[in-house]
Amino acid sequence: MDGAVISTWLAALLTLGIMSFVYKDNLYYKICEAIFIGISAGYWFITYFWDSLYRIAWIGVVHEGRYVLLGGVVLGAMMLMRLFGKIGWIARWPLAFIVGATAGLKMMVYFTTNAMAQIHGTVDDTMVAFGGGDLYDLIGRLVILIGTVTGLIYFYFSKEHKGLFGGVAKVGTWFLMITFGASFGYTVMSRMSLLLGRIEFLLTDWLKLVK
């Protein structure tokens, strides 16, 4: 038996083990799950170790002289203070750094790429609609306009969803449901192809029933 045969068998047995979970939780799945957790946790630790600690921190500071990165090392070391009961609270500093950075950065990213871009897109689409195009286009763009505005009204928190406002918000939820349905329907086929991919591996590479 050569290496390729062993590796294919190994991959096939692990594949079957995970698939067995669909039937029910069992010993075979539990072993595969345990292997999966151990191997993957180790994989990521090693990857982070070489990619972040070695390549960014060590090479960056020691070999490239990017001393600004020392700040990250100091904050990282503070994280480890969690291991020492009494001064464990120092670990909140790097945590605060990360939360602050995330809040600041993401606020701007979401504002420009989500809010500004989407408002621009809607205005742009609907602007074209009434300037020209056939009836089909007009209806489509009218739907975009109504859908976006009623959808936003659904998310409006300051007013109870009652009366006319409630009715408009209800239309908004219908649009949201169409969006969810569309995503759902769009994804089903690709998910099926994933399973077909694994079955193909078992039948072709492992059992060699299909050529």
Partner: protein
């Protein structure tokens, strides 16, 4: 003190990064912050990895239910650490890249982790089927709309959709399922996506401000 300094760090870092968006010469702060995050995350992993070892080692030492699986997990973790740290089997030795093909670390990735990953991902096919089945028993208007939209899109992506409705005359071609699916994607679906995305961005802004102003700080713990 235990909460004030973290709050100060949080507000200062957040505000500086907001400002950096507008100042071209300060944009590299964002990159630096991201590198800081990478470095802090790998230090944090010593805590996470340590926790993994402790939890499973305790299970083994107490011989609690399923302890044998914990042995397997610990073994797997240990093997990856040893093969990865010492780059065993790496064609270029310890100086070689960790993703170098042929090293034991990469072999384990390729033949153990990768098939496990793909299969777990592939299980989605079963779950998507069971979720669809439940959706078929739609009980209210919203669920019915979701179902109909999903059905049209799904049908529109298959040959069946073409076969079923290609008899519809050209002037009403929009009603043919593949065209209807495209229309749903480009009009009502787009509208819903936009409302969701605009809402999300405003939600992020208000939450970020709560964080930067120190109104929301439960994740920083108390004064203990």
């Amino acid at each position: 003190m235990k909460r004030q300094i973290p709050m100060l760090i949080l507000s200062a870092v957040g505000t500086l990064l907001v400002v950096s968006v507008f100042i071209p010469s300060a944009r590299h702060w964002q990159e630096d912050a991201s590198l800081y995050f990478d470095i802090i995350a790998v230090f944090a992993f010593f805590l996470g990895g340590g926790n993994l070892i402790r939890v499973h080692a305790e299970k083994v030492s107490r011989k609690s239910a399923g302890w044998i699986y914990s042995v397997v997990t610990l073994l797997g973790f240990g093997i990856m650490l040893v093969t990865g740290l010492f780059k065993i089997g790496n064609p270029n030795g310890i100086a070689g890249d960790i993703s170098q093909a042929g090293s034991y670390f990469q072999l384990l990735f390729q033949y153990v982790m990768s098939p496990l990953n793909s299969t777990m991902y592939a299980l989605l096919a079963f779950y998507v089927a069971s979720a669809s089945y439940r959706a078929f028993r739609a009980k209210n208007t919203e669920a019915t709309i979701l179902l109909v939209a999903a059905f049209v899109i799904l049908l529109g992506r298959t040959a069946l959709g073409v076969l079923l409705t290609n008899w519809i005359p050209a002037q009403f071609s929009v009603l043919q399922v593949p065209n209807l699916a495209i229309w749903i994607m480009n009009a009502p679906n787009l509208a819903g996506q936009r409302a969701i995305m605009i809402g999300i961005s405003l939600g992020v802004i208000s939450m970020s401000l709560r964080l930067l102003l120190g109104i929301e700080r439960s994740y920083l713990g108390g004064d203990n």
